[in-house]
Subunit: 229 residues, 2 copies
Protein backbone atom coordinates (compact mmCIF):
# COMPACT_ATOMS: atom_id res chain seq x y z
CA UNK A 1 0.00 0.00 0.00
CA UNK A 2 2.79 2.22 -0.82
CA UNK A 3 6.02 3.17 -2.27
CA UNK A 4 7.95 1.23 0.32
CA UNK A 5 6.68 -2.16 -0.49
CA UNK A 6 3.97 -1.11 -2.77
CA UNK A 7 2.98 -4.65 -2.76
CA UNK A 8 1.93 -5.07 0.79
CA UNK A 9 -1.45 -6.04 -0.45
CA UNK A 10 -0.28 -7.68 -3.60
CA UNK A 11 -1.40 -11.17 -4.39
CA UNK A 12 -2.75 -10.86 -0.92
CA UNK A 13 -5.50 -13.39 -0.51
CA UNK A 14 -5.44 -14.42 -4.15
CA UNK A 15 -5.28 -18.06 -5.09
CA UNK A 16 -1.50 -18.28 -5.23
CA UNK A 17 -0.69 -19.40 -1.70
CA UNK A 18 -2.89 -22.29 -0.67
CA UNK A 19 -3.29 -22.26 3.08
CA UNK A 20 -6.02 -21.96 5.64
CA UNK A 21 -8.87 -21.08 5.85
CA UNK A 22 -8.86 -21.90 2.18
CA UNK A 23 -6.72 -21.34 -0.82
CA UNK A 24 -8.44 -18.19 -1.98
CA UNK A 25 -8.49 -16.19 1.21
CA UNK A 26 -4.82 -16.47 1.98
CA UNK A 27 -1.99 -14.01 2.05
CA UNK A 28 0.57 -13.46 -0.63
CA UNK A 29 3.35 -10.94 -0.12
CA UNK A 30 4.16 -9.84 3.42
CA UNK A 31 2.55 -12.86 5.09
CA UNK A 32 3.90 -11.50 8.40
CA UNK A 33 1.24 -8.83 8.14
CA UNK A 34 -1.55 -11.32 7.67
CA UNK A 35 -3.96 -12.78 10.14
CA UNK A 36 -6.88 -15.14 10.17
CA UNK A 37 -7.50 -14.48 13.82
CA UNK A 38 -11.24 -13.98 14.28
CA UNK A 39 -10.79 -11.34 16.96
CA UNK A 40 -8.50 -9.21 14.78
CA UNK A 41 -10.97 -9.48 11.91
CA UNK A 42 -13.93 -8.52 14.11
CA UNK A 43 -12.11 -5.55 15.64
CA UNK A 44 -11.30 -4.12 12.21
CA UNK A 45 -14.85 -4.69 10.93
CA UNK A 46 -16.34 -3.08 14.03
CA UNK A 47 -14.16 0.01 13.69
CA UNK A 48 -14.82 0.54 9.97
CA UNK A 49 -17.90 2.38 8.74
CA UNK A 50 -17.82 1.75 5.01
CA UNK A 51 -17.12 -1.48 3.17
CA UNK A 52 -16.30 -1.81 -0.53
CA UNK A 53 -18.22 -4.55 -2.33
CA UNK A 54 -16.64 -6.01 -5.46
CA UNK A 55 -18.58 -7.99 -8.05
CA UNK A 56 -18.74 -8.43 -11.79
CA UNK A 57 -21.54 -7.71 -14.26
CA UNK A 58 -21.09 -8.71 -17.89
CA UNK A 59 -17.31 -8.91 -17.62
CA UNK A 60 -16.94 -5.54 -15.89
CA UNK A 61 -15.90 -5.47 -12.23
CA UNK A 62 -17.56 -2.87 -9.97
CA UNK A 63 -16.62 -1.69 -6.51
CA UNK A 64 -19.41 -0.08 -4.51
CA UNK A 65 -19.08 1.58 -1.11
CA UNK A 66 -21.83 0.82 1.36
CA UNK A 67 -22.47 0.68 5.07
CA UNK A 68 -22.73 -2.57 7.01
CA UNK A 69 -23.29 -4.22 10.35
CA UNK A 70 -21.91 -7.35 11.98
CA UNK A 71 -23.64 -10.01 14.03
CA UNK A 72 -21.34 -12.81 15.15
CA UNK A 73 -19.61 -14.28 12.15
CA UNK A 74 -21.77 -12.57 9.55
CA UNK A 75 -21.64 -9.20 7.88
CA UNK A 76 -24.92 -7.62 6.79
CA UNK A 77 -25.43 -5.10 3.99
CA UNK A 78 -28.71 -3.76 2.70
CA UNK A 79 -30.46 -1.79 -0.01
CA UNK A 80 -33.50 -1.55 -2.21
CA UNK A 81 -34.79 -4.72 -3.90
CA UNK A 82 -34.98 -2.81 -7.18
CA UNK A 83 -31.37 -1.69 -6.97
CA UNK A 84 -29.56 -3.50 -9.69
CA UNK A 85 -26.20 -4.06 -8.04
CA UNK A 86 -27.66 -5.40 -4.82
CA UNK A 87 -30.17 -7.44 -6.78
CA UNK A 88 -27.30 -8.88 -8.81
CA UNK A 89 -25.18 -9.92 -5.85
CA UNK A 90 -28.29 -11.28 -4.12
CA UNK A 91 -28.18 -14.02 -6.72
CA UNK A 92 -25.32 -15.55 -4.74
CA UNK A 93 -22.60 -14.77 -7.26
CA UNK A 94 -19.01 -14.65 -5.95
CA UNK A 95 -18.25 -11.30 -4.36
CA UNK A 96 -15.52 -9.69 -2.27
CA UNK A 97 -16.09 -7.27 0.60
CA UNK A 98 -13.14 -5.21 1.80
CA UNK A 99 -12.91 -2.92 4.82
CA UNK A 100 -9.84 -0.70 5.14
CA UNK A 101 -8.82 1.49 8.09
CA UNK A 102 -6.10 4.02 7.37
CA UNK A 103 -4.08 4.48 10.55
CA UNK A 104 -1.31 6.73 9.34
CA UNK A 105 1.25 7.81 6.80
CA UNK A 106 4.76 6.39 7.00
CA UNK A 107 7.38 8.90 5.90
CA UNK A 108 10.71 7.28 5.16
CA UNK A 109 14.11 8.60 4.14
CA UNK A 110 13.70 7.29 0.60
CA UNK A 111 10.67 7.59 -1.66
CA UNK A 112 10.71 3.84 -2.19
CA UNK A 113 10.17 3.10 1.52
CA UNK A 114 7.20 5.39 2.02
CA UNK A 115 4.19 3.47 3.20
CA UNK A 116 0.90 3.63 5.03
CA UNK A 117 -0.14 2.09 8.30
CA UNK A 118 -3.44 0.35 7.81
CA UNK A 119 -5.65 -2.50 8.89
CA UNK A 120 -7.77 -4.25 6.29
CA UNK A 121 -10.11 -7.21 6.05
CA UNK A 122 -10.93 -9.00 2.81
CA UNK A 123 -13.94 -11.31 2.78
CA UNK A 124 -14.65 -13.68 -0.09
CA UNK A 125 -17.87 -15.55 -0.60
CA UNK A 126 -21.45 -15.22 -1.71
CA UNK A 127 -24.14 -13.08 -0.12
CA UNK A 128 -27.44 -14.67 0.89
CA UNK A 129 -30.80 -12.96 1.09
CA UNK A 130 -32.18 -12.64 4.60
CA UNK A 131 -35.75 -13.86 4.24
CA UNK A 132 -37.04 -13.88 7.82
CA UNK A 133 -38.33 -10.58 9.19
CA UNK A 134 -36.81 -11.24 12.60
CA UNK A 135 -33.29 -11.59 11.24
CA UNK A 136 -33.88 -8.70 8.86
CA UNK A 137 -34.82 -6.43 11.74
CA UNK A 138 -31.83 -7.59 13.76
CA UNK A 139 -29.58 -6.86 10.79
CA UNK A 140 -30.97 -3.35 10.39
CA UNK A 141 -30.54 -2.78 14.09
CA UNK A 142 -26.90 -3.96 13.78
CA UNK A 143 -26.33 -1.57 10.86
CA UNK A 144 -27.76 1.44 12.75
CA UNK A 145 -25.94 0.52 15.97
CA UNK A 146 -22.73 0.02 14.01
CA UNK A 147 -23.00 3.63 12.82
CA UNK A 148 -23.82 5.09 16.23
CA UNK A 149 -23.80 2.95 19.32
CA UNK A 150 -27.03 3.58 21.26
CA UNK A 151 -28.96 4.98 18.32
CA UNK A 152 -31.47 2.13 17.87
CA UNK A 153 -33.04 2.73 21.28
CA UNK A 154 -32.69 6.53 21.22
CA UNK A 155 -36.34 7.07 20.31
CA UNK A 156 -36.06 6.69 16.53
CA UNK A 157 -38.95 5.01 14.73
CA UNK A 158 -38.12 1.41 13.90
CA UNK A 159 -38.83 0.05 10.40
CA UNK A 160 -42.47 -0.49 9.50
CA UNK A 161 -43.62 -3.59 7.64
CA UNK A 162 -43.63 -1.71 4.36
CA UNK A 163 -40.12 -0.34 5.02
CA UNK A 164 -38.95 -3.86 5.80
CA UNK A 165 -40.46 -5.07 2.54
CA UNK A 166 -38.72 -2.22 0.74
CA UNK A 167 -35.36 -3.31 2.08
CA UNK A 168 -33.23 -6.11 0.74
CA UNK A 169 -30.88 -7.41 3.43
CA UNK A 170 -27.96 -9.64 2.53
CA UNK A 171 -25.83 -11.79 4.81
CA UNK A 172 -22.20 -12.63 4.13
CA UNK A 173 -20.31 -15.25 6.13
CA UNK A 174 -16.90 -14.34 7.53
CA UNK A 175 -15.66 -17.91 6.99
CA UNK A 176 -13.38 -16.76 4.16
CA UNK A 177 -12.04 -13.60 5.75
CA UNK A 178 -8.48 -12.53 6.34
CA UNK A 179 -6.91 -9.45 7.88
CA UNK A 180 -3.74 -7.59 7.08
CA UNK A 181 -2.03 -5.02 9.28
CA UNK A 182 0.93 -2.70 8.78
CA UNK A 183 2.01 -0.67 11.78
CA UNK A 184 4.96 1.19 13.18
CA UNK A 185 7.89 3.20 11.89
CA UNK A 186 9.36 3.34 8.38
CA UNK A 187 11.81 0.60 7.51
CA UNK A 188 14.60 2.42 5.77
CA UNK A 189 17.66 0.86 4.21
CA UNK A 190 20.73 1.07 6.47
CA UNK A 191 22.44 3.24 3.87
CA UNK A 192 19.69 5.85 4.18
CA UNK A 193 19.60 6.08 7.98
CA UNK A 194 22.01 9.00 8.22
CA UNK A 195 20.21 11.05 5.64
CA UNK A 196 19.31 14.43 7.18
CA UNK A 197 15.58 14.16 6.63
CA UNK A 198 12.75 13.77 9.09
CA UNK A 199 11.31 10.27 9.13
CA UNK A 200 8.46 8.83 11.11
CA UNK A 201 4.72 8.31 11.24
CA UNK A 202 1.86 10.71 10.90
CA UNK A 203 -1.03 8.94 12.66
CA UNK A 204 -4.48 9.52 11.16
CA UNK A 205 -7.88 9.02 12.70
CA UNK A 206 -11.47 9.65 11.66
CA UNK A 207 -12.79 12.23 14.12
CA UNK A 208 -16.16 13.89 14.56
CA UNK A 209 -16.74 17.64 14.40
CA UNK A 210 -19.56 19.39 16.24
CA UNK A 211 -22.93 17.75 15.41
CA UNK A 212 -25.26 19.85 13.22
CA UNK A 213 -28.80 19.67 14.56
CA UNK A 214 -31.74 19.35 12.22
CA UNK A 215 -34.18 19.38 15.12
CA UNK A 216 -35.14 22.20 17.45
CA UNK A 217 -35.44 22.14 21.23
CA UNK A 218 -34.13 18.61 21.55
CA UNK A 219 -31.00 18.11 23.53
CA UNK A 220 -28.08 16.43 21.84
CA UNK A 221 -28.00 12.94 23.36
CA UNK A 222 -24.89 11.63 25.12
CA UNK A 223 -24.48 8.68 22.76
CA UNK A 224 -23.95 11.16 19.91
CA UNK A 225 -21.63 13.55 21.75
CA UNK A 226 -19.45 10.69 22.91
CA UNK A 227 -19.21 9.11 19.44
CA UNK A 228 -15.72 7.95 18.55
CA UNK A 229 -13.98 5.32 16.50
Amino acid sequence: MTIEDETELDKNRTPSHPARPNARATLGRHPERGSYDAETIRTILDEGLVCHVGFEIAGQPYVMPTTYGRIGDHLYIHGSPVARWLHTIAEAIPICITVTLLDGLVLARSAFRHSMNYRSVVILGRARIVEQNDEKLEALRAIVEHMVDGQWCSGIRHPSDSELRATLVLRMSLSEASAKVREGAPRDLDDDLNRPVWAGELPLKLRPSAPIADSHGIELPAHVTRWCR
Copy 2:
Protein backbone atom coordinates in the same frame (compact mmCIF):
# COMPACT_ATOMS: atom_id res chain seq x y z
CA MET B 1 -25.12 3.85 1.58
CA THR B 2 -27.50 3.54 4.37
CA ILE B 3 -30.73 2.74 5.98
CA GLU B 4 -32.42 5.82 4.59
CA ASP B 5 -32.07 5.07 0.97
CA GLU B 6 -29.79 2.19 1.38
CA THR B 7 -29.56 2.26 -2.29
CA GLU B 8 -27.86 5.54 -2.84
CA LEU B 9 -25.14 3.65 -4.57
CA ASP B 10 -27.34 0.98 -5.97
CA LYS B 11 -27.17 0.21 -9.62
CA ASN B 12 -25.03 3.28 -9.54
CA ARG B 13 -22.81 3.29 -12.57
CA THR B 14 -23.96 -0.14 -13.69
CA PRO B 15 -25.06 -0.69 -17.25
CA SER B 16 -28.73 -0.05 -16.64
CA HIS B 17 -28.96 3.66 -17.40
CA PRO B 18 -27.24 4.44 -20.67
CA ALA B 19 -25.99 8.01 -20.65
CA ARG B 20 -22.74 9.89 -20.86
CA PRO B 21 -19.81 9.44 -20.66
CA ASN B 22 -20.80 5.94 -21.57
CA ALA B 23 -23.39 3.41 -20.67
CA ARG B 24 -21.35 1.66 -18.01
CA ALA B 25 -20.16 4.60 -15.96
CA THR B 26 -23.55 6.14 -15.40
CA LEU B 27 -25.70 6.61 -12.40
CA GLY B 28 -28.64 4.50 -11.41
CA ARG B 29 -30.66 5.36 -8.33
CA HIS B 30 -30.38 8.91 -6.98
CA PRO B 31 -29.13 10.42 -10.22
CA GLU B 32 -29.40 13.83 -8.51
CA ARG B 33 -26.37 12.83 -6.50
CA GLY B 34 -24.33 11.99 -9.54
CA SER B 35 -21.81 14.01 -11.43
CA TYR B 36 -19.51 13.62 -14.36
CA ASP B 37 -17.97 16.99 -13.74
CA ALA B 38 -14.20 16.65 -14.08
CA GLU B 39 -13.50 19.15 -11.31
CA THR B 40 -15.72 17.32 -8.81
CA ILE B 41 -14.06 14.05 -9.70
CA ARG B 42 -10.55 15.50 -9.35
CA THR B 43 -11.33 17.14 -6.01
CA ILE B 44 -12.55 13.85 -4.56
CA LEU B 45 -9.57 11.93 -5.92
CA ASP B 46 -7.14 14.51 -4.57
CA GLU B 47 -8.66 14.40 -1.10
CA GLY B 48 -8.72 10.60 -0.83
CA LEU B 49 -5.68 8.62 0.25
CA VAL B 50 -6.70 5.04 -0.45
CA CYS B 51 -8.44 3.63 -3.51
CA HIS B 52 -10.08 0.22 -3.77
CA VAL B 53 -9.21 -1.72 -6.91
CA GLY B 54 -11.69 -4.34 -8.09
CA PHE B 55 -10.82 -7.12 -10.53
CA GLU B 56 -11.58 -10.77 -11.12
CA ILE B 57 -9.30 -13.79 -11.10
CA ALA B 58 -10.72 -17.17 -12.07
CA GLY B 59 -14.30 -16.12 -11.45
CA GLN B 60 -13.61 -14.60 -8.03
CA PRO B 61 -13.78 -10.82 -7.61
CA TYR B 62 -11.16 -9.18 -5.38
CA VAL B 63 -11.07 -5.69 -3.91
CA MET B 64 -7.63 -4.43 -2.88
CA PRO B 65 -6.86 -1.18 -1.09
CA THR B 66 -3.85 0.73 -2.34
CA THR B 67 -2.45 4.22 -2.52
CA TYR B 68 -2.46 6.31 -5.68
CA GLY B 69 -1.55 9.58 -7.31
CA ARG B 70 -3.17 11.69 -10.02
CA ILE B 71 -1.61 13.55 -12.92
CA GLY B 72 -4.13 15.34 -15.11
CA ASP B 73 -6.75 12.87 -16.26
CA HIS B 74 -4.90 9.77 -15.15
CA LEU B 75 -4.70 7.89 -11.89
CA TYR B 76 -1.47 6.03 -11.09
CA ILE B 77 -1.07 3.00 -8.85
CA HIS B 78 2.06 0.96 -8.30
CA GLY B 79 3.53 -2.19 -6.84
CA SER B 80 5.99 -4.99 -7.33
CA PRO B 81 6.19 -6.67 -10.75
CA VAL B 82 6.07 -10.05 -9.03
CA ALA B 83 2.90 -9.19 -7.15
CA ARG B 84 0.19 -11.32 -8.62
CA TRP B 85 -2.76 -8.99 -8.36
CA LEU B 86 -0.94 -6.04 -9.89
CA HIS B 87 0.60 -8.32 -12.49
CA THR B 88 -2.86 -9.59 -13.33
CA ILE B 89 -4.46 -6.18 -13.80
CA ALA B 90 -1.38 -5.02 -15.74
CA GLU B 91 -2.63 -7.32 -18.48
CA ALA B 92 -5.24 -4.69 -19.27
CA ILE B 93 -8.21 -6.64 -17.98
CA PRO B 94 -11.34 -4.63 -17.05
CA ILE B 95 -11.02 -3.18 -13.57
CA CYS B 96 -12.83 -0.71 -11.35
CA ILE B 97 -11.16 1.78 -9.02
CA THR B 98 -13.29 3.40 -6.32
CA VAL B 99 -12.37 6.22 -3.95
CA THR B 100 -14.78 7.00 -1.09
CA LEU B 101 -14.66 9.90 1.34
CA LEU B 102 -16.89 9.58 4.38
CA ASP B 103 -18.02 13.07 5.37
CA GLY B 104 -20.46 12.29 8.13
CA LEU B 105 -23.25 10.26 9.67
CA VAL B 106 -26.85 11.29 9.05
CA LEU B 107 -29.07 10.57 12.03
CA ALA B 108 -32.74 10.66 11.14
CA ARG B 109 -35.94 10.27 13.13
CA SER B 110 -36.59 6.84 11.65
CA ALA B 111 -34.13 3.98 11.23
CA PHE B 112 -35.04 3.76 7.57
CA ARG B 113 -33.88 7.31 6.84
CA HIS B 114 -30.46 7.01 8.44
CA SER B 115 -27.74 7.69 5.96
CA MET B 116 -24.17 8.77 5.46
CA ASN B 117 -22.77 11.86 3.82
CA TYR B 118 -20.08 10.83 1.40
CA ARG B 119 -18.33 11.64 -1.83
CA SER B 120 -17.24 8.81 -4.08
CA VAL B 121 -15.67 8.33 -7.48
CA VAL B 122 -15.97 5.14 -9.51
CA ILE B 123 -13.56 4.67 -12.42
CA LEU B 124 -14.03 1.91 -14.97
CA GLY B 125 -11.44 0.90 -17.52
CA ARG B 126 -8.21 -0.97 -18.02
CA ALA B 127 -4.85 -0.13 -16.46
CA ARG B 128 -1.82 0.29 -18.73
CA ILE B 129 1.79 -0.35 -17.76
CA VAL B 130 3.94 2.78 -17.65
CA GLU B 131 7.02 1.79 -19.62
CA GLN B 132 9.01 5.02 -19.81
CA ASN B 133 11.23 5.83 -16.83
CA ASP B 134 10.39 9.53 -17.02
CA GLU B 135 6.67 8.96 -16.65
CA LYS B 136 7.31 6.28 -14.04
CA LEU B 137 9.29 8.73 -11.93
CA GLU B 138 6.64 11.41 -12.35
CA ALA B 139 3.99 8.92 -11.25
CA LEU B 140 5.96 7.97 -8.12
CA ARG B 141 6.46 11.64 -7.39
CA ALA B 142 2.70 12.16 -7.74
CA ILE B 143 2.01 9.26 -5.38
CA VAL B 144 4.41 10.58 -2.70
CA GLU B 145 3.18 14.16 -3.09
CA HIS B 146 -0.41 12.94 -2.95
CA MET B 147 0.34 11.46 0.48
CA VAL B 148 2.15 14.51 1.83
CA ASP B 149 2.37 17.68 -0.17
CA GLY B 150 5.99 18.87 -0.20
CA GLN B 151 7.49 15.50 0.65
CA TRP B 152 9.21 14.76 -2.68
CA CYS B 153 11.57 17.73 -2.34
CA SER B 154 12.00 17.44 1.44
CA GLY B 155 15.39 15.77 1.14
CA ILE B 156 14.23 12.16 0.73
CA ARG B 157 16.23 9.94 -1.59
CA HIS B 158 14.52 9.55 -4.95
CA PRO B 159 14.16 6.11 -6.54
CA SER B 160 17.33 4.51 -7.89
CA ASP B 161 17.36 2.70 -11.22
CA SER B 162 17.07 -0.64 -9.48
CA GLU B 163 14.15 0.60 -7.37
CA LEU B 164 12.47 1.87 -10.53
CA ARG B 165 12.95 -1.53 -12.15
CA ALA B 166 11.49 -3.14 -9.03
CA THR B 167 8.33 -1.05 -9.31
CA LEU B 168 5.44 -1.71 -11.63
CA VAL B 169 3.53 1.49 -12.30
CA LEU B 170 0.07 1.40 -13.86
CA ARG B 171 -1.90 4.22 -15.43
CA MET B 172 -5.68 4.38 -15.47
CA SER B 173 -7.59 6.92 -17.54
CA LEU B 174 -10.34 8.92 -15.88
CA SER B 175 -12.39 8.93 -19.09
CA GLU B 176 -14.95 6.55 -17.57
CA ALA B 177 -15.22 8.13 -14.14
CA SER B 178 -18.28 9.35 -12.29
CA ALA B 179 -18.77 10.95 -8.91
CA LYS B 180 -21.58 10.68 -6.42
CA VAL B 181 -22.20 12.97 -3.47
CA ARG B 182 -24.66 12.92 -0.59
CA GLU B 183 -24.62 15.91 1.72
CA GLY B 184 -26.77 17.76 4.20
CA ALA B 185 -29.43 16.96 6.74
CA PRO B 186 -31.56 13.83 7.11
CA ARG B 187 -34.66 13.70 4.93
CA ASP B 188 -37.32 12.43 7.27
CA LEU B 189 -40.90 11.67 6.38
CA ASP B 190 -43.29 14.49 7.31
CA ASP B 191 -45.05 12.14 9.72
CA ASP B 192 -41.82 11.68 11.66
CA LEU B 193 -40.84 15.34 11.98
CA ASN B 194 -42.51 15.85 15.36
CA ARG B 195 -40.93 12.80 16.88
CA PRO B 196 -39.05 13.86 20.04
CA VAL B 197 -35.66 12.59 18.95
CA TRP B 198 -32.49 14.43 18.03
CA ALA B 199 -31.83 14.42 14.30
CA GLY B 200 -28.97 15.88 12.33
CA GLU B 201 -25.49 15.28 11.03
CA LEU B 202 -22.33 14.17 12.76
CA PRO B 203 -19.55 15.42 10.45
CA LEU B 204 -16.47 13.20 10.22
CA LYS B 205 -12.99 14.03 9.03
CA LEU B 206 -9.67 12.24 8.84
CA ARG B 207 -7.34 14.17 11.11
CA PRO B 208 -3.69 13.77 12.04
CA SER B 209 -2.41 13.20 15.56
CA ALA B 210 1.06 14.29 16.71
CA PRO B 211 3.74 12.91 14.36
CA ILE B 212 5.93 10.14 15.81
CA ALA B 213 9.56 10.75 14.92
CA ASP B 214 11.79 7.87 13.88
CA SER B 215 14.75 10.21 13.47
CA HIS B 216 16.74 12.08 16.08
CA GLY B 217 17.86 15.70 16.07
CA ILE B 218 15.94 16.55 12.92
CA GLU B 219 13.28 19.17 13.18
CA LEU B 220 9.77 18.25 12.12
CA PRO B 221 9.29 20.01 8.78
CA ALA B 222 6.45 22.47 8.24
CA HIS B 223 4.94 20.46 5.38
CA VAL B 224 4.33 17.61 7.82
CA THR B 225 3.03 19.71 10.72
CA ARG B 226 0.59 21.49 8.44
CA TRP B 227 -0.71 18.28 6.85
CA CYS B 228 -4.45 18.23 6.46
CA ARG B 229 -7.11 16.80 4.20
